[in-house]
């Protein structure tokens, strides 16, 4: 009885999938006129062209390495994430905030006891933590020059807290984490409002006239990435504390 039912569900699912697959195949083979899904379109035919040439405001502007532009982040993905589409990123931070809030709200409060750690873990934990903090810090400070950025940096910093938890060392309390989270979140939006007061536009990068490729370039981007990193780290560390009892 049970097996027959699961077999039936499997067959129905395969049918649905094959219908969708057939539909996608048909669409990709369709020879109507107009742009097709299978057409080969390069970034130069999309909005990305302006992002890469950094000429959204002035059409004919050009830039060189070490010069200034409307956006001075050397990593173009970062410039899209934290400047051209900054509002998306702030909303993403809110998504993480809401889900972690819901996580802490819903999860049952019987926490695991930490088994007494071995000497090796206990000894090496501070060194590992400092290493993790350094890598995370490097990542968000250099987010506008090299791959990386606030989100992985936050994740790496939070692993430092995780190691602390597993090694049974007292690092942070949940109350502190909550305060870090709220302060970082509020300051992201206050920076947005500050830019409204200064320039008249929300979430504008109002520190200008620096050079592409410098460590201190890209205006507000490193600041935003730093705030995001601390917020993400605080939120993810909160998850570990929900699972494990603090020592």
């Amino acid at each position: 009885m049970r097996d027959e039912r699961s077999l039936f569900i499997n067959i129905v699912a395969l049918l649905i999938l094959s219908v969708i697959g057939f539909y996608i195949y048909k669409v990709s083979m369709d020879t109507g006129k107009g742009i097709k899904i299978t057409d080969n379109i390069t970034p130069q035919m999309r909005v990305a062209d302006r992002f890469m040439n950094k000429n959204v405001i002035k059409e004919e502007s050009k830039y060189v390495w070490g010069g200034t532009a409307e956006n001075t982040s050397a990593n173009i993905v970062t410039s899209v994430v934290v400047d051209y589409r900054l509002f998306d990123t702030t909303l993403e931070v809110i998504v993480l905030f809401v889900t972690i809030l819901g996580f802490g709200f819903v999860i049952p409060k019987d926490k695991r006891k930490i088994i007494k750690p071995t000497t090796i873990l206990n000894r090496w934990a501070p060194i590992l933590m400092i290493l993790m903090l350094m890598i995370g810090g490097y990542m968000f400070v250099n987010g506008h020059l090299s791959p990386g950025g606030g989100f992985p940096a936050g994740a790496i910093i939070s692993t430092a807290v995780l190691i602390g938890v597993l090694a049974g060392r007292k690092t942070l309390s949940q109350k502190t984490l909550k305060i870090i989270e709220a302060v970082a979140g509020i300051s992201i939006f206050s920076l947005g409002i500050a830019s409204f007061v200064i320039t008249g536009n929300f979430f504008q990068n109002f520190i200008l006239n620096d050079r592409i490729g410098d460590l201190f370039s890209a205006g507000l981007i490193p600041i935003f990435y730093g705030l995001i990193a601390f917020k993400v780290a605080a939120e993810l560390s909160n998850i570990y504390f929900e699972f494990y009892e603090e020592c």
Binding site: N75, V77, P152, A155, F243
Partner: protein, 85 residues
């Protein structure tokens, strides 16, 4: 040179496809979680082949590392509950 990269991509694509099928069809929950972690990690290599190092780092840290850790914590918590009964 291009060929070698292509074969690497092919191998990773097979690993991902078989890994995800295995993760879904196996009965052992813990095995499924670990295999899912492998799938996620190999997808980050795939991102690297697609010239997207930013995404690769984020996927490796968040998609592969922390998501898998969350699954394992959940598994442990559910195991604890089983012991009580």
């Amino acid at each position: 040179m291009v060929n070698r990269v292509y074969y690497l991509g092919l191998i990773i694509a097979f690993i991902m496809a078989f890994g995800s099928l295995w993760a879904l069809l196996t009965d052992d929950l813990f095995k499924a979680i670990v295999v899912f972690g492998i799938v996620s990690l190999s997808s980050s290599v795939m991102f690297l082949l697609m010239q997207a190092p930013d995404v690769a780092i984020t996927e490796a840290a968040i998609g592969s590392g922390i998501t898998t850790a969350l699954f394992i914590f959940t598994y442990k918590k559910l195991e604890d509950r089983k012991d009580e009964r």
